[in-house]
C-alpha cells in the first residue's frame, strides 16, 4: 500500500505499488485477498480507478455496512501494509484508446470507479472520442472524484450529476430516468458505445431506458454489483 486518499466519509482510494501486476486496461478489476493469521481468507473484486497502464494502480473501495473485506480496506489497512492482489481481470467492460466512437458512461454510486479509469485514460492519451458521463449519486457527500471531474470537463468530456436523496441548493432531487437519458445522454443516432455500472436495480433501469430510446443492445455494456434479494 503506497498511499491512501479519502474520497467520501465511507470510501477511500487505495494506491497500490504492484510491480508484478500485468498491464492493465481501464475498466478491468483486480481481486484482493485478505489472509488472517490462522490462514482464514476472504477475497473480493475491485474495479481499477486508474488509467490504462498507469502505475501505481488505484482502486476506490466503498465500505459496505455488512461487509467483510471492505471495512478492513476502508478503515484498517495502512500505508506500507502488504495486500495480496491478483489480476488484472476482465476484457469486456473496458475502454481502449483505439476506440474512436462516442462514449456514454452512466454510473450509479460507486459504479463510477471503472468509468473513472476510462475518463482518466481518455484524458491521458488525448483521445478525440466524445465522452459523456451521467452520474447518479445519493447526495453531494457521496460524490467520488469531485475536484478532478470538475477539472477534466471540457470539449471532450461532459459531466452531469443527478442526486437521488439530497441535492446541493438549487438543484432538483431525483433519479436518472427516461427524461435524463433522452436529454443528457448521447442519442442513438450518434451510435455511442455505452458503459453502465452500478447496483443491479440501477443498471436494469438504465439499460431498459436506453433500449426504449432506441439504443442498440450490442452497444450497451454493463457491470452490476450488490444483491437483488
Amino acid at each position: 500500500m503506497a498511499a491512501i486518499r479519502p474520497e467520501t466519509p465511507t470510501a477511500r482510494t487505495l494506491v497500490l505499488d504492484a510491480p508484478e501486476l500485468g498491464s492493465t486496461v481501464a475498466g478491468q478489476h483486480i481481486d484482493i485477498r485478505l489472509t488472517a493469521e490462522d490462514g482464514y481468507t476472504a477475497q473480493r473484486s475491485y474495479s481499477l480507478a486508474s488509467a490504462t497502464g498507469a502505475r501505481p494502480v488505484e482502486v476506490t473501495v466503498e465500505r459496505f455496512e455488512d461487509g467483510e473485506v471492505s471495512p478492513y480496506l476502508v478503515e484498517d489497512v495502512g500505508i506500507g501494509d502488504p495486500l495480496e492482489i491478483r489480476g488484472p481481470i476482465g476484457g469486456w467492460f473496458v475502454w481502449r484508446r483505439e476506440q474512436e466512437e462516442p462514449v456514454q458512461l452512466v454510473a450509479g454510486g460507486s459504479g463510477i470507479v471503472p468509468l473513472m479509469g476510462m475518463i482518466r485514460t481518455h484524458a491521458a492519451v488525448g483521445s478525440t472520442a466524445p465522452f459523456r458521463l451521467l452520474y447518479g449519486v445519493q447526495d453531494p457527500d457521496r460524490r467520488y472524484y469531485r475536484d478532478e471531474l470538475v477539472r477534466l470537463v471540457g470539449p471532450g468530456l461532459r459531466v452531469d450529476v443527478r442526486y437521488s436523496r439530497r441535492a446541493p441548493d438549487g438543484l432538483p432531487v431525483g433519479r436518472i430516468g427516461a427524461a435524463e437519458l433522452a436529454t443528457l445522454a448521447l442519442s442513438p443516432e450518434q451510435q455511442p458505445t455505452i458503459y453502465v455500472c452500478g447496483p443491479t436495480g440501477f443498471v436494469e433501469a438504465i439499460a431498459d431506458g436506453l433500449l426504449r430510446l432506441g439504443h442498440a443492445p450490442e452497444r450497451i455494456r454493463t457491470e452490476r454489483f450488490g444483491p437483488t434479494g
Binding site: A42, V77, P82, E204, D208, R221, G226
Partner: protein, 197 residues
Amino acid sequence: MAVFSPGFRGRRRSTNPALPPGQYEEHGFPVLSAGITPRIREDDWRFSLTTTSGESREWSWADMMALGPETISTDIHCVTSWSKFGTSWRGVSVDKFLDSVGADAPYVMAGCYGGYSTNLPMEDLRGGKAWVAFEFDGEPLRPEHGGPARLLVPHLYFWKSAKWVNSLTLMEHDRAGFWESLGYHMHGDPWLEERYR
C-alpha cells in the same frame, strides 16, 4: 506463501464445509451479466441442440415441459466469490435433451439470447448434473436471472450456467465461450478455484 493482512480477522460468517475455497456465503441473489437483459416470452422461446455432423433438433416451451421437469435443490457458486446454499429450482435435465437426439461429443458450447456463450465438457452436462431451469424458489425465473430459462450447472462456477440459454452445440474440440475468451477458466471447478486461466 500467503501474505498476512495485519489485524484482519474476518467475519467468519460461514464455517460451512460446503463453502469452496475463497468463497463467502451470500443470502441475496446477485446479478452479473455483460449486457442488457433480454426479454423472451415463453411462447417465443426455442431451444436447439446441434450435433457435430450439423443435425439439429428444436424444442418449444411445451416440448420442453413434455420431457418431464424435476425439482433441484443445490448450492451455487459465483466466480466473484459469493456462494448461496440450498437454492431451489425446477428444470429439465440436459440428459433428456441429449438422449432424445442420441448424439455424443466431448465438448459443448451453450448459446443464448443476447449472444452470450459458454463452453463445457460433456461429462459436466451428463449424469444428472445439469438442467435447463425455468423456476427459482417456486417462481418463474426472472429475466435478470436468466429467465425464461437458463442452464443450471451448479457444480461449476455460475458463469457456466448460461442465462437465456437457447442452444447447445456439440463440439469435437474445446473452444472458448464469451468469458473464457476474456481470460476466465475453460472448466471452472470452484473446489479447484479454476477462476482464471
